[in-house]
Amino acid sequence: MSGNMNITLKVWRQNKASDKGRFETYAIPNVSEDMSFLEMFDILNEQLIIEGKDPVAFDHDCREGICGMCSMFINGRPHGPLKGVTTCQLHMRSFKNGDTIVVEPWRAKAFPVIKDLVVDRSAFDRIIAAGGYISVNTGNAQDANSLPVAKENADHAFFAAACIGCGACVAACKNASAMLFTSAKISQLALLPQGAPERNTRALNMVAQHDAEGFGSCTNTGACEAECPKGISLSNIARMNREYLGAALMS
């Protein structure tokens, strides 16, 4: 081990969904500032295994900020203190020697805890399954350049499509609303001509599924946008509301 930071971690431990759960405190010596936050957890877990204790379960996979699997609530903020950064890309140079860091899972009724810091985010998949697609079977497509899209619209569709589905927006929201997530997909497809034929059913069905999953409603606080590691804009929610109202009037 290489570093010279001493970190104290207060980590949420919960053996399974039905358990009550509690915080446990761990001291991690010799943390290097080049380490990522998750690499510090690797070291903690190795330490726990050697001591014969149960390591901390946490979700992670790509460790380069794109898969959306990591999900820690760090010192009261999803993905920690930096803007535009997921937990896996948060490095210990963002903390100080001697810091105590509190780490919890995402807290939302629609994201039940599975174990420790791992939560069930399958509600997001069901929202997409309700309409977050264009109904085009394989083989149905025309030549890609036969459908020009204004660069500005294509760019904005891309910015919305950059959502990684991590759920930080839900964790940040006092109502545990998933409107930023839902609106990002609705916006992406509303901005493209390919999305037009299904725009009404898409908005209605995705919003209905969002509500059915137990996510709260949006009160325009903007915490989601502030905490989103991919900078998904609140304007997507406004666009979704227009799509939804338009669709509701038509139906």
Partner: protein
Amino acid sequence: MSTSPKLDAKIPEGVLENKWTKYRSTVPLVNPANKRSLEIIVVGSGLAGSAAAASLAEMGYKVKVFCFQDSPRRAHSIAAQGGINAAKNYQNDGDSVYRLFYDTIKGGDYRAREANVHRLAEVSGNIIDQCVAQGVPFAREYGGLLSNRSFGGTQVQRTFYAAGQTGQQLLLGAYSALERQIGMGAVQMYSRHEMLDIVNIDGKCRGIIARDLVTGKLERHFGHAVLLCTGGYGNVFYLSTNAMGSNVTAAWKAHKKGAFFSNPCYTQIHPTCIPVSGTHQSKLTLMSESLRNDGRIWVPKRKEDAQAIREGKLNPNDLKEEDRDYYLERRYPAFGNLVPRDVASRAAKERCDAGFGVNKTGEAVFLDFAANMMRYGRIEANKKGIYNPTEDVVKQLGKEVVVEKYGNLFDMYKQITGVDPYENPMMIYPAVHYTMGGLWVDYNLMTTVPGLYALGEANFSDHGANRLGASALMQGLADGYFVIPYTIGAYLSNEIRTKAIPTDHEAFVTAEKETAEQINKLMNVKGTKPVDYFHRKLGLIMWNECGMARNAEGLKKAIQDIQALRDEFWKDVRIPGEANNMNPELEKAGRVADFLELGELMCIDALNRNESCGGHFREEYQTEEGEALRDDENYAYVASWENKGNSWELHKEELKYENIKIAQRSYK
């Protein structure tokens, strides 16, 4: 040399250009009513898996999909950055299906199958059409049409992209198609499930054993056919650009049940990754190949300058142009910074080994954007009608262009290294990225086990000994959207009378029992060392002896070291917790156990191949200029290994080049 009778690739007869078209029109069909009673299992939900599952469900088959992540959208295809190739010739720069085919065969150093690669090039355009129809937001020009960029190993611009997040956008497109089928009930999704074995009945693959990673329960699933879309095995090196969970287990279990494993030694070391910073490191991060479009790679010409930079006494920005060695441009003037990955990686290693490395460890070279940033800045100034702009204005305008093209990559670099790449040249070094080897498949993508298929990176078929940039996404989606939906008919049309086999069949019971025993064995070692200890050690052996450069002596030693490490693992690994609960350490242990076997086979394969080709560089076989020296007379074959319990038997598939003249690969 002749091809082993066990390896009938079933390549259709006829001229190359017509093979696929003709085959596609004659392959047996399954009528819609019968499709409804045929069940297909898809393991893995990346580009190949999601595309296959969605397409097959659209056709009417009953599909089950398994992934170990919490959602199919997280598969590691999501992390692909730079782009996807397609022979659209939208840039009017001379591209064609033939040229993409030719570039891919040449890039693979003449070790891929002609017919498969030609088919890949033929369907490449359909992929772009399909993705755009799904709403994938590719980069566009102001006229509203699609934009392209260059990638390594080619001289045309055929790469479609979405900033530095092309894989993400393509996967989310395939994922949305998959979710649509899930929503309609045509696909049953099993997230947080890991496949731990295949089940063969009467010589055909009929299902899988999977572990529910939340409850730890083992499950049996029947399928008339099973598709492994489980990616590559780069994590055998411990440090790689793969995701933490990427593993070989599905392919390896299939290998142990009869699927031959081909060319395992062909691994791709990607030249532009963020260098290793310390022993705590858990993974390496790629900086997209697209950066080589605009970045120039260099080290100092003089060793003393390199040393001064290493010691922090000299700022690389202050080193004069004539004191820099742009070694790729010097060695390969025709392709310059856009040589294929294997060539670029070896060249970086050569400079660093010679003492010109530029970071603390001496294992890094510069990737410098300064010159192109200024060039872009001057173009922008012209567009805006700013005449005689100051240097600062040019730099600012140029920076804006770079932000749009590569912003997320530059941010990522800064986040990981703490250095601002807009102001300083990036430091990069090669890292394990992709594996060209994989399960042997025939033209239909079927392995040597009837009914068991391998798609995408999990198979071996299209990239030879080196994959070109932006071709992995192309192959994954080609296999999933446009190949398997046709070729699976050749098999399933004969299975319409096979009723679903109940999973209390003896073969399922036995396979589940064996899986449970393996888990018990792992849990009961109760040793002293965590799984990562062994994984790191294995990675180091592989990197040192079976990495960018290999030799017979080192490989022989590596085989012994791996065997010894494997023994130690089974005596001393410690897995905490219980098997009947969520247990990430148990998951890792199973995967590392398989890597410990695969690693040995990789070294055996590398030792067998007494030549250098693509990513496989044997130090004994090189030209005077240090380039890879192939031996076409003796090694123009696919090395396919049959598992024999404690050993392997080699079977050869001869590679015949009927349309391309085989030559020494030159990028000079």
